[in-house]
Symmetry: C7
Subunit: 240 residues, 7 copies
């Protein structure tokens, strides 16, 4: 009865409907998954290409934030770009002021504090975007998920967007902490495969990885992605 | 039930109705198409002239943004002018600060970030305008489409405005990546021809092109346009 | 259902009702016409004098903007004064900064950009005024029409205000691009005559002209206007 | 249906109801008339004194603005005071900057521009006051009427306030441009007399005059007013 | 139908309901009267003491503003304090800048201009307070009444607050301009006596006077007030 | 019908409902009483302790403001803290600027002016807190009560909060101006005892006193409070 | 009927519904308890881990604020982060300005004043978070609870969040002021155990303690927590 029209209004049961509706915008977004391995961490996205006339690389869903940090987004694409730009600026500021790379958790908190602001003050709307932030620190990799409320959680493996439920089902069943990156990417692809009901294409699948060894974020080449998809398909064929 | 009255309000299913209504303003606009060729990129617009008393050149729908960038607009004309002016200023700023031409994607993102602002803060309305931005870079041409949400997509060939559906149908059926500029312009004209249900006139058709060779945006002379229309008509006559 | 209460709200079909209602304010205004000739350009207004107690010259509807630019207005008179003042200031600024006369189109765009601002930001209303702006450039004359949305169109001949429909009918039927100023003024007067259903009086008719020759805006003397009206009447008498 | 709640909202037929309602505030005000003569200009007001306990001179309705300018007001009295003060300040500013008296029309336009502001921006209401501004220039006298919209008209003779209709009827019937000041004041008094249905009293009638000869605004003494009323009464007695 | 919810909205008949409702706040206030005599001017207030536990002097309704100016208030007491403080500051500013006492009318106008501001701009409410301002000038005394609209009137004798109607009835019947201060105070007390339906007590009656002779505002001692009340009672006894 | 949703709106009968509702917040608060004696002044509060797990001293309801001023509060506790802090700052400012202790009435007015601000401007709510302010001046003690409207009254003895009616009944019946501090505290305790329907406990009763002798505010020790409660109980026992 | 839509609106019975609804957000949060012992003070939280894929340490509910201060939070997690950050900054400011550790109560009041601001001004919402703040001072430990209204209370033992009622029941029955830290932690665990209906796991239970001895906040290692849970289980087994 009107409690859901402004972010500055709590409903009688203590909810902020506008924030929950912004989460719906995420739930309408493309599926993205993040997964930790013993030797690295990866994000994978199944970009929806609805027309052959689109340039697939323009539907960017995985972004480098700093040399050691990357992110996958889901939800309103223009909002995502704003958040990614802000994250990049925060990283630069940290380098300028402290002359060192920002911590992955520190960056994730800054982004979440920024998002929280849009849930408490009038005249704005929350960001309709979730982010999976991956990064490497001294001796381990990190995988954070943010949502429109500004809440921050770390996962071993997780998913956002339209296919989240299907993704989490796969991960709950099959994720193991002793997986290496190759196994993790294959499991991540399998999750995307289940979420998309069996459609998966190297040209519309983005994968970003950070290996503990060199702590460098990089996006896989389409040929690498194709190889992994091949592996997955033969593996699933074996299972079937 | 009121979710569509303010851009700062999400609907329960995570939509921003005001942004969607602004897209309607675009859907009521003139039809514009963009198309990439192997040797260049072009935008074509079918300007609606409703009276012989109008000066056709005053209904400008294709604009030079920088020497190597051009744009076609559809939707609210006053909004389009604001965006075009801002784009031109961004190009000048880039030249002043970095002493070089702005990248086509960089410019397109700046325009989209500007648009996004008008979808998140209260007291304003989104821009009721879509843009097709074309440009040349070191070794390739670009074709971006922006919409009122601030989303940005790159296409091989695309259309905006009232005739978009008809245009896309033509492109999906006939577009080939190995077309040269001449073929591309003819296909773009055919798309406009279908969208306008067979009306097409050199005096009310604007064409802007950038060739990879010289990376210079230029608008075709009316005589050149007339020649292409003639070609199209004989070609269609042949098909018929 | 409420989409028409604020300029910052689009209706579901992508319209800005407040801007359309502001156009209604123009449609309730006095009739003004603009017309290009081979040797100049003119604006003509039929001022409504409802009482013999009014000083006719105080109902000014045609204004000099710069030596080479003039304008006729229709709609809310106080709004018109604000726009005319702003236009004059823009001309002065141009002279101060660039030491030259502002271009007619450049000025018209500045006025339209100013108007557009009042259609996108909350807490204000659009201007309820349309302007016909005439001016001379190096080798030609210009005639622009602006409306409350900030849209800008150039015409060969056009009309604003209550009598617009009647005016356009006359122009569509009789306007020729090879008319000289004398013929153009007579056609403009005829259009006003039709729009006012046959009433036309030298004391309540204002005419502003710019000749290509000297590029100077001047308002005709009442005696000159009377002469033209006489010519028109004998001409119409001949037609009848 | 709500179009009349905010000045920043046009009604579907292009009206600003709040401005029209502010005009109603004027229509509820005291009757004031202005009248030009060959040798000067005058304003006359019939102040309503509802109690013998009031000090009549405190119900001031005619104000000196500058040595050569005066004004009569009708409508909300506190609003009128604000406008009169602003007018006085504008006159002083003109003397300071240009070392000369402000023109009557220039001042009137400044007041009207000030009023217009209150009809276009949110969070304020229009002024509920009309002014009759009289003044002398080099070789003629001026009489301007402003209303809450910021519109400005010059009259030979006019009226504002509750009795406007009755006043205008008298003026339309009897006003002549060749009247001298004595005749004009008598006609103005007659107009007030008709508007007040035959009540007129020297102690509650204010008259302000400016003679072309000396260009000095002055308010008549009560004895002078009484003399004119006597003249009017004998004259009307003769007519009756 | 909603016209009375915001001061910035006129009703269709040109009224500002919020200002009228603020006048109701005054009509609910304590009764205060002001009265001019040949040799001075006085204000009298009947303070309502509802409990013997109150300190009567804390219910101050008559205030010294400057040495030569005093005021009585009725309506919201916190609003009255703000206005009284502002009036005192205005007096001090006048002494600082011009090195002389402020005129009574000049001060009253400043207070009224301040009040007017609260009737034209959004986001505030009008002051719910009326003031009777008395003061002495070179050769005469002044008595001004202000109301929440910012209107200013001078009276020979007047009243504000709950008992205004009863007070005015007494004054209309019995006030004479040739009264001396003693007679005026007795008539003021009689008015309060009628307004309070016959209750009047020295401890709850405040009287402030300014004599032309010394131009000094002073509040009468309770013993002086008691003496006047005695006089009034014996006088009324004589009448009864 | 909506007049009670904003503090900046008067109801048709001149009331400010939001201020009245804020008074309700006070009426739901703990009972506090203030009482003057011949040799000092005291405030007493019956703190509600609803759980044995609370630290009683954390439910502070009586505060030292300056060496010679104290206050008891009732209503929203967070609002009370803000007002107490502001009062302390005002005292410090006075000492810094004038090098002397602030007057009790001067401080009380400053607090009330601060509160009034929250009843006249939009976008805020009134303070939901009443204060009893006690203090000593040169030769007497003061006891002020403020309410959410910003009104200020001085009392000989008074109460605020849920038990106000019961308290005032006791005071009206038994208060005498010639009481000494011991008698006054006993009467204050009796009032609290009646208001709490016979419950009174030294650990939940706070008493703050200022003796004229030393003009120092101090809070009684729990043992002192217990002694007074004992005295009261034996006294009431004697009465019973 | 609308009183609950804005924090700046009191309901007719003096309540601020938005603040009460924010308390509901706390009531939906994780259960946290605080408990004082003779030799220290502790906070314990039962973090809800809903998936084995979450990194438990990322669901941080207990935070170090300064060396001698810690806090547990319940309610909206993004709001909690903002408040914790602000608390840390306040501690740093105190060290910078006064070169000493901030007092526990002083810090708690600063946080509560910050929260109060969000309950009195428009355009924001209250914080949907409660905090338990623990700290050590010279000779004692402190345990404060804040709620969304900005109210501040000190407890011997208390709880916030979904399990508060069950927690308080345990504490009311079994808490003793002479408990040492070991006993207090066991009782706190028991309270969490009852609130969670018998589920309690070392990996999802956080405990923060401050011992009077060293006044240092520290979080217990998971092994320590596991030991305490073992103790509790054997103890409960003994009871059962």
């Amino acid at each position: 009865m009107g409690y859901d029209r402004a972010i500055t209004v709590f409903s009688p049961d203590g909810r902020l409907f506008q924030v929950e509706y912004a989460r719906e915008a995420v739930r309408r977004g493309t599926t993205a998954v993040g997964i930790k391995a013993t030797d690295g961490v990866a994000v994978l996205v199944d970009k929806r290409i609805t027309s052959r006339l689109m340039e697939p690389e323009s539907i960017e869903k995985i972004f480098q934030i700093d040399t050691h940090i990357g992110a996958a987004t889901s939800g309103l694409v223009a909002d995502a770009r704003i958040l990614v730009d802000r994250a990049r600026v925060e990283c630069q500021i940290n380098r300028l002021i402290y002359d060192e790379r920002i911590g992955v958790e520190a960056l994730s908190k800054k982004i979440c504090d920024f998002k929280q602001t849009y849930t408490q003050y009038g005249g704005v709307r929350p960001f309709g975007t979730a982010l999976l932030i991956i990064g490497a620190e001294d001796n381990r990799v990190r995988l954070f998920e943010t949502d429109p409320s500004g809440a921050l959680l770390e996962y071993k493996a997780t998913g956002i967007g339209a296919g989240r439920a299907a993704v989490m089902e796969v991960f709950e069943a099959k994720y193991r902490e002793d997986m290496n990156m190759r196994e993790a990417i294959l499991l991540g692809l399998e999750a995307l495969y289940r979420a998309s009901e069996g459609k998966l294409d190297a040209s519309t699948t983005e994968i970003g990885v950070i290996m503990l060894e060199d702590k460098k974020f990089r996006k896989l080449e389409e040929s690498e992605v194709a190889e992994y998809i091949e592996m997955l398909k033969s593996q699933l064929g074996g299972e079937a």
